[in-house]
Symmetry: D2
Subunit: 341 residues, 4 copies
């Protein structure tokens, strides 16, 4: 961290300020130029609040040279992290590194038939994981909120029936005990900075799929991951799912530059959700392919056997047939990227 001191600051005050900073566990290099005094902070600056320093009357500007995240930081873990998940069919699926992991399924679990059929269809098409929501974060209290515990039971039946691991969203930490057979716990975009939830999941042994908040920066996503990692849970999967913009054409703007950015900054697997990002079923194949070409480690795609009758987000769900066709193109792209589905 580098602190530019205001011109004309008395030397004694600068020294006192340096001493104060050193009490926070860093070493301070003072360099007094003819017209500019600069303090360089050396050591672990992750606990130092760059914004708070700006309150000090001596401080002109602050730049953070080192990123504020440590466990998520590729600098300290140069090799890719990948996550192995044993399925109910005895096979092991992978997320990260040389693997391209595909998660597919409906927005919401609606019925036994629906979820089992979709599970079998997406597994057959080559998906490694079944997604399906039992607890749904909905903007309106009057919208369908998911089937709740009953939905979770149906999802777990589909897991057994089709022999495929499952990923589903946890909204309330009280429900954690119901998630014993869930393979990957999803933290939704609206909860990305629910620090209470993140801290609890840091104590869990389950892999966590952490979705980027729709107005959160790359750094904030990595700091949210850091909450989980700092708690002792090292199995975090990052997910880009679109950010807010001024253009109403798509529901959000899918920020694919987040993929190379996150891969450069972090060793964690990075997947992409083209369905929630765009909100438009017809756009999902193009953006799914683009995500793989950008270097994503996986995709999470909404697939519904009857999108018109879906209880939520039907407009962004593709059919099992369209999904199977897309998988063909994804295999060719994975090959170019040196990845295995």
């Amino acid at each position: 961290m580098i602190i530019a001191i205001k011109p004309g600051a008395p030397a004694a005050e600068v020294e006192a300020f340096s001493a104060l900073l050193e009490k926070q566990g860093v070493r301070v290099n003072l360099s007094q130029g003819a017209s500019q005094t600069v303090l360089g902070l050396v050591g672990d600056t992750s606990a130092i609040d760059a914004e708070a320093l700006l309150a000090h009357h001596l401080v002109e500007k602050v730049i953070r040279v080192q990123e504020p995240y440590k466990r998520a930081n590729r600098m300290f873990h140069p090799d890719d992290t990948w996550i192995d998940i044993s399925g109910p069919d005895g096979a092991v699926r992978h997320l990260g590194g040389p693997y391209l992991g595909i998660m597919a399924g409906p927005c919401s679990v609606e019925s036994r038939d629906q979820i089992v059929q979709v599970a079998q269809a997406v597994k057959k098409a080559g998906a490694g994981f079944l997604r399906g929501g039992a607890f749904k974060p909905r903007t309106s209290p009057y919208s369908f909120q998911g089937l709740g515990p009953a939905g979770l039971d149906l999802l777990l039946e589909a897991k057994k029936e089709a022999g495929i691991p499952v990923v589903t969203e946890l909204m309330d930490i009280h429900h954690l005990e119901l998630f014993g057979d869930v393979d990957i716990i999803q933290v939704g975009a609206r909860n990305m900075q629910n620090f209470t939830l993140l801290k609890e999941l840091g104590r869990s042994a389950k892999p966590i799929l952490l979705k980027r908040g729709y107005a959160c920066t790359i750094t904030e996503l990595l700091m949210a991951a850091e909450y989980i990692l700092a708690g002792g849970n090292s199995r975090v999967i990052l997910c880009e799912r679109g950010i807010r913009s001024f253009d109403p054409y798509t529901r959000n703007i899918l920020d694919l530059s987040a993929v190379p950015a996150l891969k450069r900054q972090s060793h964690l697997p990075v997947i992409v959700d083209p369905s929630h990002a765009t909100g438009l079923a017809w756009m999902v194949p193009a953006m799914a392919k683009a995500a793989v070409a950008a270097g994503a480690d996986g995709l999470i795609i909404e697939v519904h056997n009857n999108p018109e009758a879906a209880l939520c987000d039907g407009e962004q769900s593709i059919t099992p047939g369209a999904f199977a066709a897309l998988m063909g193109a994804l295999r060719r792209l994975a090959d170019i990227e040196g990845k295995t589905i």
Copy 2:
């Protein structure tokens, strides 16, 4: 709600679709023009998901004529709602209607001396409420997270000592029992769409200060309020605290047009937080005054007796002296707006 049907849709299919819609509890007026068929939905459309309708192959466009919120909607409650809060000093403070309510205090409770001194100073200057955080939502797990339950105790001591009601943030619903003597519970911007928390607070009897998420729309804020109102808690205070933008000059962009917008759409009190919005202490007075001139029902302002040594957000805190000076200008503005501090 108005649904534009795609050109060339077979009449029988449109009728079947209308019948399906009527099963959701609305009446459908079909108007078949020469080149455009339009369905008008009459009745309570708040449970109908406009986005989901777009998945249907007959649907071209959907417009919502009626807002999706009911209890928060001024259409159904034309008169201003205001909230009365009895202070520990026997006096009653008001938020909403003809009152201008001023909340002031430090970002975080740091020590008994600090919080009691600030409490006395802001009360003396005319603030109606003391703010102070015990549980702090911080981007980094390595930053100061607040004093926790001990901080809450100190805040409640300051409440008694200075004779002023208090407002403080709740992050974890498990802490609710600790909040028995808190006068107003704050839901932070990052938790505005933590629907689990909102539902629980709907069952509470405490007034809730609901801060707008930094990338949430006016409608989404009102839908978040609707979660609390629908649970039976009618005492919700809305708070504009800045939204994300592309310009790094201020931490967020204070959206003061939200004030007249929220006042028009809803009967609930609307206050403004110029401190978090701008992140710049020197800008707080100008924006506080502008908020009152825009019609706000109150302000929440960070005041610290020693901003340079604040454990968080010192750069946006003003001193008790600056706060007292600001109160003078606010009184003149309140007078123009026909409000009483």
Copy 3:
């Protein structure tokens, strides 16, 4: 400007790099800490491209300590600039400093009767300047594009008839000769970074009203002003008129924090356009008042004698009656701010 050098950079390379920088007319202070080398650039760094420096393999981060604008910078011109404009009625109007300048009139000049009537009405209510567009920048080539030169003639007739100076937009530098009797030339938001136009207007003797582009930063607005100032025209008025956001409630978000920001960074007058910012006539009074309370030096407000029949932007125009009522409130606010209308 401060340049943080990458760890482990060879000393000889850093020296060569410093020498290269010194050739660009600045002095370089090299400070070699134990783990961090920092270069401090002293002198006029406005011609040095901070982004370009990042291409260099030695450079880790760059911070600009000094702003890249000079003539617009309050640091070099501590006193407020204000602009005097002699009206056709012999009276002098002022923009900036202790004055609150009010510009009002229709979006477009539509007819002689319309513009003369509005001119007389706004002058009577206390406006100092008549606004009215003859050349209109419209998103669609099929929308009304303004009356062109004939519209300008009508505007100038209204100027004479009502005895009030006029402000109108120039879109094409070829039209400059037609603007001889125009008192203030407006550069619209979409042309804020039309550098060709800015350079030409730098050679003009007319005051320039420069509107902020709807996705331009505070710094970019000041750099656009710098283009005009650098050409020798020192009479620039800055105008905040709303920026793009994700919320469709208002057409743009009126960024009132731009007012104290621009006033702090620059000595130039700063006015606000609440009409284009919000696009909603009923919101104009609240935001006009807020702008004055935030410290604005003036307002530009759309007033139309028959908003329902306006050829453009009727939805954001207020009537002469509403404008006169607003002026009453503005006078009281100006008084609080120590300004004279």
Copy 4:
């Protein structure tokens, strides 16, 4: 266009309003439901200003069913438009349809050696077009503004020397006569809504590369294209080059969903500029590949033989070697997309 009338509007007023609308050249279907009156406008509504209608006291909401652009609209031109450009080497290059067109070269023309070397290198690697700026739109008046006419001469020398068509930006319509031998004229992002320039280029016979403004919507880009098309120039190439967001990680956010969106809405070729969008050379290959996988018809990439010494935008330029390597990957992706480079 569908207009929802406010509840309780008198029938006579609605009829008068309908008559007024019919005078604007459309037919009005009035459908009076029990509680909602809706007007359906039939015919060419492109000249009707939906926003202006909102000023009318009877109007509740307006939805545009038909897009406001006609010549750019795929609905009226279902087949892809592609553009053929004869090079100085006798070969014809294509943009659009089954072709993937690659433009490459430096941000600015700096010297004869530089531009000729880069031209030869990118042509050898397979680029179809040389890009290079002579007139540069720079945020600061103190930054390098390009070599101007001399730069254009050097670019045209490189065209001849290397035998490759060229694309370069026009900022000032007065320079048009200098552009006689330029193959494609670029309109920069900052000029996308410089309607004066667009109208003039509508009268030109040159292909126009129209870059999306960094805060312009898909619809606004197509309306800007419509200005050129309406003037009689049908050879417009659309270019996505990043939009503004809250995250400073990349200079802009590359909105790749714009590619399928523009391809669906319009028949015009759509290319992508990953260099300006990200501002980061190391990210260019990933985003270039993603653009092709998303369905882009081409790319425009900054290539510089010595990025560290580039006079502008070096941080986003890749070397000729990196470009040649990228071309290999792009050929495999083009193959998957059924396109020919």
